[in-house]
Symmetry: D2
Subunit: 290 residues, 4 copies
Amino acid sequence: MDALDLVQNKKIHCLDHGFVELIDVMPRIVPDGQTCDYAICQMARTSYGQGTKSVNEDKGLINYLLRAAHTSPFESVEIKFHMKLPIFVARQMIRHRSSSLNEISARYSIMKDEFYLPEPEELRLQSATNKQGSDGAVNLEEAKTFSKIIKQISRDSYAWYENMINAGVSREQARMVLPVNLYTEWYWKQDLHNLMHLMALRCDSHAQYEIQVYGNAILEIVKQLCPWTIEAWEKYHPLRGAIKLTSLEKDAIKKCNNENGPRKISPIDSTNRREQNEWISKAQELGYEI
Amino acid sequence: MDALDLVQNKKIHCLDHGFVELIDVMPRIVPDGQTCDYAICQMARTSYGQGTKSVNEDKGLINYLLRAAHTSPFESVEIKFHMKLPIFVARQMIRHRSSSLNEISARYSIMKDEFYLPEPEELRLQSATNKQGSDGAVNLEEAKTFSKIIKQISRDSYAWYENMINAGVSREQARMVLPVNLYTEWYWKQDLHNLMHLMALRCDSHAQYEIQVYGNAILEIVKQLCPWTIEAWEKYHPLRGAIKLTSLEKDAIKKCNNENGPRKISPIDSTNRREQNEWISKAQELGYEI
Amino acid sequence: MDALDLVQNKKIHCLDHGFVELIDVMPRIVPDGQTCDYAICQMARTSYGQGTKSVNEDKGLINYLLRAAHTSPFESVEIKFHMKLPIFVARQMIRHRSSSLNEISARYSIMKDEFYLPEPEELRLQSATNKQGSDGAVNLEEAKTFSKIIKQISRDSYAWYENMINAGVSREQARMVLPVNLYTEWYWKQDLHNLMHLMALRCDSHAQYEIQVYGNAILEIVKQLCPWTIEAWEKYHPLRGAIKLTSLEKDAIKKCNNENGPRKISPIDSTNRREQNEWISKAQELGYEI
Amino acid sequence: MDALDLVQNKKIHCLDHGFVELIDVMPRIVPDGQTCDYAICQMARTSYGQGTKSVNEDKGLINYLLRAAHTSPFESVEIKFHMKLPIFVARQMIRHRSSSLNEISARYSIMKDEFYLPEPEELRLQSATNKQGSDGAVNLEEAKTFSKIIKQISRDSYAWYENMINAGVSREQARMVLPVNLYTEWYWKQDLHNLMHLMALRCDSHAQYEIQVYGNAILEIVKQLCPWTIEAWEKYHPLRGAIKLTSLEKDAIKKCNNENGPRKISPIDSTNRREQNEWISKAQELGYEI
């Protein structure tokens, strides 16, 4: 069965002209009724050789691997995307050094006249509390002006880029007037372990909105290819459904439970014995009775 | 000031014949009264350019970087060790692919007659509950036998290794009879970000005891070179003082707090405003009043 | 078309009990009549955007990419193998840090009684000229003794391993008596760029014979998956059909041709014996008298 | 002895406002009269254990390591730079994924009004033969116009950037109008093995002139820190003084020498024009008539 058929919508549009398109995946051929998750289990089971007979079924195994940070089996899945994205988004994404990529070369090719041009409603104010974030909409009148200006600068820059190209100026130099809202394109291949790290950071609400759009497009595709892995990741990653308590925060809970008399806490909503036991030991560490 | 002088004991003995020895560190020269932590702050502050004036002092910055998983500044510190360790420990450690290393070559050199030979008290039983762990001591009488056997096999193997070498057999082939408790040596250079990952896994109580010894020796050295980083790591890493609650576990606490009426929880023991606010939002997410 | 069908023999036996088996490849589905080479061209052409129209056909493109060291398109092909190999071979192979792998765990599983046991004819003498090589066969009488000894040590070690396991000693400790000719198993996934580097070093005549066997098995599979890439690699890689002349060697050829006397060529301007010998063999390969 | 004292000029100016500045090196403290090369030998000698006694002196060892592509000892040297460079140069450099870096954040900080503004004489024509290169100067009258235009676009973009910032638009969005000739800054740390790869590609005459300037600044610093390594690299790297002959080119030389007619050499057996041209220039470099 072709794993690409697991994905309804292989090309997800992003911002005004961009996209994330699924090109290929490893494993590409999966057993009927299964997903790319199966390659993760196949890889993990090698570690256990003959010992695998008693290992729980695949979904439980994937849950366990993610909880226990046994990350290498997730490297066995590779996903290849074609993306079109503004340069300033590409510059954030390329900080993830674990990918293999080929980008269109502005030395070799003439760049197309495609810029990310946000609508007035999409312009955001600088956050008052977070020096690297935005917060709330720009006053609409001003936003209309700025939106027009961004279009104008993009158009003018491109016109002069074209003029220089037509006059024979080298592409590698002419491109230097193009602003970072210009769209670029690349093929991007990365393994699932590293993709989960990228998505955790880039789908997060602290990431710049424009890269969240790409992060979420990637997530929408990946969760169709590897549904159990993404379900587990949503439950166990501290930037998703889970939470990380520092030792100081742990102390605050413990103190609260000691001072008021230990509170009786319920088991978690899971039938997995190992997961239940992990909770019991964490709850005891937090001062709960269970 | 030479950063090596921060470390009291540069060569820590491990197991019977092994060691971890600090060879070099980057930054090697640090301002008087400071430690290698300063290079992390220098690196981090670049990201903020002119904006750095209002950033808190160095210790708070390091705490923040670790809490927020801003990992790249920790890559600015490199530490180089000389280690002697049994092959089976070396095989676990080399799974950390981010290090640069040079190991003694058993094709080029004649290996020395040095084996890890545990005393009878050091032999551990297979854990009944953890298929990849050990638990409790082997019955002393049997342990004495096995300890003697391990010595015997090591001695016999080495004797035949030497015989083959003396008869002119190639080193690369003669070494194949040597068991994996043979000591090997290498230079190991790794950046601090990746070393923290290695230490988290290898100092953990689930790691094999023999590699914990090496993990703890590395930790003892690193905490003298980068005391603030290691203090923060002890507070914020889920395999150290911190704890990671899955979404199911979060739900159990929330439920407990809802059912019995929300419990009043204390602020954490920190004067850092950002850290206090992080706790407030986590505590609210867990159903506490604060 | 399923790319696995390009490979006649997916499981190649190596040494006495080992193997290299092709498990998966990316791209797995290739256009009819094509091979995995096509994904390399697809990746490379992105860099050229609209400029691709005039680019030569695929085979020429692959040749050019390899000659010009444009390596990133070759990262677009991923190959996954299952291997069984002696520990001392595995220890050489894992020095290639670019792979993703899962190895059977001797903490979790009981290792099988399988050792690499060379026949007497397979035992090689230490090279007199190359400190890390072997050269010629061991005298047959001695070789018979040593071959028997290797079997004996392996059998005895395994017997004691089994005894300890049966007495309840932890697997992670019991395994320490097992010699490095024990077979281990792993899944090994690597991209084609890094595989070419691995093959260049490990198929080379200076590599230990036992790892050459694995290098050549990998090569036999890869050349069926990516025939044009491997054809180009054979022509352009200095450890295959190509040759690298240092600046000194270049000068010597220039001098020869200037002086008009034809095929008598000078030694290079170096007092280093090894460097001179390298030149002598290269010059002879080029047809010069020296 | 402080290795930084080996370098005369620690801050090399690049283009109009950029620079490469040496910040730190590992090893920082080197024995008197030695250089950072010594750490490479120290690392290499580990591989040889007791066998080192007969190894030649350090310079010969470094030459050998580079000729034989024993690359890991060169990873033992780490060099940290502070750089200011235009975004389009930064985008080329960051393709080298082996570095650790921290870049100024345009989400956090307000970017400075600093752009790379080439003088009219510095504007180059598109190469007629190399689709990704430049060749010759732009006609001076036109160049004056374009140089003025580049200044104008940069100034206008920055003015609108400032306006948006002053109106409270988030920095992360306002920056999108800034063209890629804007200067950015980063700390860049990389090991010597990977730096040699970067320099080979980026100091090469096929690289864009603007990145060659940075490549050469790095080279000027590195050759003072590790003089023997760089001397060897200049002799043995095919993109520096050495040359790589493909198997076809080798065959042509052999044929010439067999036929006894001396310096008249045949074209290679290929119908690919580019490949023929590469051979013509190599053969001429070797002193042959063709």
